[in-house]
């Protein structure tokens, strides 16, 4: 089945995935380091992401042979380098998945007053995520087309409702303590950004058409504006105690509606916005499963599903046996771990255009007669081709006739 996704679809996916994670704990985390200048830190991180997203899109444009990330890395940095990057990718996405799950559970508990436990909450979400992944990534992309308008309207409404409560004095003066806290906040909170990185794992599935840059960048830009506006209103409402308000919406909504005769209309917007969280969780599960499958060299049609089960099991167990959120804050936000993650989130997107260009050039030099995939028993068999001079061993999809067929 053709599982390619269109430019518009991944542009909307960028919006929803970015939106899905930013409205929960990020404003509080940014305020912890940058205080009233948290919005500047947010803007700076979005600017960095904007550049890195442009690089990723450039890589997509250069990837004319529709090579997968694994193929690009194998052809350029070798198998070992590829494995290392996929392992970091797996850790990154798994951690993000756990963070999204725990933060959304917290949001549900505090806003929608649903008292539930970790397993009862995560199992239905995983059930949906598995179902969607099983239907194919294109199905997820199509769902974003359907849900984009309600999610965008909900996000705008949520931000707009909070603005009347903003105290301007809480935001001024700007850069009172200089740029250093803003820079440090940005350095520490980079882990919560780079949401567009799912694109790197879908390099071989994106249909390159006109306006490759315009739609995704506009989509990302509008998301950046909305998120920054939320951080502004959050800091404007809470001032110096912003960092103590863990779930932004839960706290903001206490100030939003003063007239109870109207009901809590922001909850309706919140419920619609939460769809983006579930879609983001699905995309993150897909990315972590796919990364693990590539790292462990798992083949087969259902490789992502099998690895997804492993990740689901890990996700159910890890937060029960260890204080997960504190560990993330300690190692990945403040600690040294963030620099390892930056290899994947910053270095990879920066190098991806070059890698993509080199890989495509090398791939094109492989004799054409060998370049065809041969599905057999549901698998596409990879065969080492020794005739290629550019590297010692080039893994490519090759014609599997009865003579040269061998199990990988």
């Amino acid at each position: 089945m053709n599982q390619s996704i269109k430019t518009t679809q991944f542009a909307l996916l960028i919006f929803i995935v970015t939106m899905g994670g930013k409205f929960m704990t990020l404003p509080a985390y940014l305020s912890a380091f940058a205080q009233r200048d948290a919005w500047l830190s947010c803007l700076l991180l979005f600017a960095v992401d904007f550049i890195l997203l442009s690089f990723t899109l450039w890589a997509i444009k250069l990837n004319k042979s529709s090579l997968s990330l694994n193929r690009i890395l194998t052809l350029t940095v070798g198998k070992v380098g590829s494995k290392i990057i996929f392992f970091i990718s797996f850790v990154f996405f798994l951690t993000r998945l756990l963070c999204q799950l725990s933060q959304s559970l917290e949001l549900f508990s505090s806003v929608l007053t649903i008292s539930t436990n970790w397993i009862a909450y995560t199992v239905p979400i995983f059930a949906f995520a598995f179902y969607s992944i099983n239907k194919g990534f294109r199905n997820i992309a199509r769902m974003t087309e359907l849900l984009f308008v309600p999610i965008a309207l909900a996000a705008i409404l949520l931000v707009a409702l909070s603005f009347p409560e903003v105290e301007t004095l809480n935001l001024l003066p700007v850069l009172e303590y200089g740029f250093r806290p803003v820079a440090y906040s940005s350095l520490c909170n980079g882990f919560w950004f780079s949401d567009y990185l799912f694109l790197a794992l879908l390099l071989d599935r994106i249909q390159v058409k006109k306006r490759l840059f315009l739609s995704p960048l506009v989509s990302f830009g509008s998301c950046a504006i909305l998120t920054t506006a939320l951080v502004v209103s959050f800091t404007g409402i809470f001032g110096n105690i912003s960092w103590m308000q863990d779930i932004a919406f839960a706290k903001i909504s206490q100030f939003v509606i003063t007239d109870t005769s109207k009901g809590r209309i922001e909850w309706i917007a919140l419920v619609l916005w939460l769809f983006s969280v579930f879609i983001k969780i699905t995309v993150t599960l897909y990315c972590s499963s796919s990364s693990l499958a590539t790292f462990l060299n798992v083949k087969g049609k259902n490789r992502v599903n099998y690895m997804g089960l492993v990740i689901a099991a890990l996700s159910l167990v890890i937060p029960i046996i260890m204080p997960f959120q504190q560990a993330v804050n300690h190692y990945l936000v403040v600690g040294f771990g963030k620099y390892i993650i930056y290899i994947f989130t910053i270095l990879l997107p920066l190098c991806l255009p070059l890698l993509s260009f080199l890989a495509t050039r090398r791939y094109r030099r492989i004799p054409k007669k060998l370049l065809c995939s041969y599905p057999l028993f549901g698998n596409t068999y990879d065969i080492s081709v020794s005739t290629v001079k550019l590297s010692d061993t080039v893994v490519c999809k090759a014609d599997c006739t009865a003579e040269n067929l061998s199990e990988p």
């Binding site: 929608l112 649903i114 769902m143 359907l146 769809f275």
Partner: protein, 493 residues
């Protein structure tokens, strides 16, 4: 044994077989027909009157067809299976038994029947004298319109085909006649416009219908089950229409229609979700009115499915969302109700479904009065007795009425509504959200003959939205839907 004797012998089991012999100057013509299926007027007009008044015996079958029975639809057949089938459908079988060699059968040729048993070759002329019992072409009860044509399909495939044919006076209108059902031998007609429809879809439809190996096809819904390319899907993947103007418009959009003899419902494929939103009136009214009605339909169906669940969920978990005045009213109405909100709502919904079902089945003269008794007396009594709360009854009734905005899917939506209510009662808004995502994901994954079921929303095809919820004026619909991947998309130049 002569041909007619042979035919009479193999059909001897049929008690309805009538044999008439007409003598023309010492030579005989034998007629065989089935009493119940033969039109006596047609028989005398096309065959017996002509034969009685004939001066000479026809020299051969060709002469018989060219002169004596020339006014009727007739066919010369040599295969016993074909002759039997024609006889069983009301044709009259005519045998010549003359002195001339040409009128005698050429028995040296051996034919094989469908069971591969060698049978004797016989020659006969079959004349169409079918007595077609059908009702008048009237407005169908489920697709009544305020403006627009009021013709509806009937149970005769020939009449149905003629109703479409008279609207499509083009040589591009193509039909393929197929025969399905081992015992019923039902005629199934696949129609399409060859310069518009996608040939791949036509071939697939023909292939699926040809592959049906079943004892009988009694209605188009039997064929629809086979045309559904997914097994066990709740949502229908095949469209059904009772009006020729709608089928014609679908054919003009590039769809393929399937007419089944004996059914007043014509099937169309590929089928999209938005077709459920469309009603015939939309096209005969101003586009603004059509768009407004479609929005109303969409809102009423969506709200009918989710509102009972949301009400239960809000009552149980998130009552803060409800505005204070409403909340006070609800609390006052429900404070004496002994049932839990979930049980109360399920009871209301089941009661409504019970009334609907019994109203459909019960005799018409009793239906109205009993439904009034059921709805008003029972509902009112249940509220006064403290068994049900008034808000639950109001929500149940609103939801029940709203489901009829898409009458083809009422039962399916009823099931979904019940599911949403149960999930809302167990897991609150969180459960409803997850269930909604499941349903959307499922709907988006569906395909009807390689056309995404949820197009033009997912995948988003902006052009095709011209006839989705917000309808464009007919004068601006220049192209046919892109999602159908047609040969010719230009509708208006």
């Amino acid at each position: 044994m002569k041909d007619y004797e042979f035919f009479e012998a193999i059909m001897s089991y049929d008690m309805e077989l009538k044999h008439r012999t007409i003598d023309i100057k010492g030579e005989y013509i034998h007629l065989f027909f089935m009493d119940s299926l033969t039109d006596a007027d047609a028989l005398s007009e096309f065959i017996t009157d002509n034969l009685i008044s004939a001066k000479n015996m026809p020299k051969n079958y060709d002469e018989l067809m060219e002169t004596t029975v020339a006014g009727a639809t007739c066919e010369l057949l040599h295969n016993i299976d074909e002759i039997k089938l024609k006889y069983l459908t009301g044709y009259t079988v005519v045998f010549l038994d003359g002195k001339n060699k040409a009128t005698k059968p050429y028995s040296s040729v051996r034919y094989y029947s469908k069971k591969t048993m060698p049978v004797r070759a016989i020659t006969a002329v079959v004349v169409d004298t079918q007595k077609i019992q059908t009702r008048a072409v009237v407005e169908p009860p489920t697709s009544s319109v305020i403006k627009g044509p009021r013709e509806g399909f009937v149970e005769s495939f020939k009449i149905n085909l003629s109703l479409i044919r008279k609207r499509l006076r083009t040589d591009a209108f193509t039909i393929k006649l197929l025969e399905v059902g081992r015992h019923t031998k039902t005629t199934v007609c696949v129609c399409y416009l060859k310069d518009i429809a996608k040939q791949k879809v036509v071939n697939e439809v023909v292939k699926i219908i040809n592959s049906i190996d079943m004892d009988g096809i009694l209605d188009s819904s039997y064929v629809a089950k086979f045309l559904d390319n997914r097994k066990n899907t709740l949502f229908k993947m095949v469209g059904s229409c009772e009006k020729p103007d709608i089928v014609t418009s679908k054919l003009l959009e590039g769809r393929v229609a399937v007419i089944v003899d004996g059914s007043p419902i014509v099937l169309t494929v590929p089928y999209l979700f938005i077709e459920d939103l469309q009603a015939p009136d939309d096209y005969y009214d101003a586009p603004e009115i059509g768009s407004f009605l479609r929005i109303i339909r969409l809102i009423s169906v969506v709200s009918s499915i989710i509102i009972p669940g949301i009400y239960v969920s809000l009552q149980l978990y998130n009552y803060q969302i409800i505005p204070l005045k409403f909340l006070i009213t609800i609390i006052n109405s429900t404070k004496n109700i002994s049932l839990a909100p979930l049980a109360e709502m399920i009871l209301v919904l089941l009661l409504f479904d019970l009334l609907r079902e019994s109203n459909t089945r019960m005799p018409r003269f009793a239906g109205l009065s009993l439904s009034v008794v059921g709805a008003v007396v029972l509902g009112d009594a249940a509220v006064k007795a403290g068994l049900l709360g008034a808000p639950a009854v109001v929500i149940g009734a609103m939801s029940g009425i709203g489901l009829y905005a898409m009458p083809d899917n009422t039962v399916l939506f009823t099931l979904l509504r019940l599911l949403v209510t149960i999930i809302g009662g167990i897991a609150g808004l969180f459960g409803i959200m997850i269930l909604t995502l499941f349903i959307l994901s499922y709907l988006i994954s569906l395909q009807s003959f390689n056309t995404p079921y949820f197009a033009p929303f997912a995948p988003s095809i902006p052009h095709d939205r011209q006839d989705a919820v917000i309808k464009k004026p007919l004068s601006q619909m220049n192209k046919r839907p892109y999602c159908l991947q047609l040969k010719n998309v230009t509708r208006k130049k």
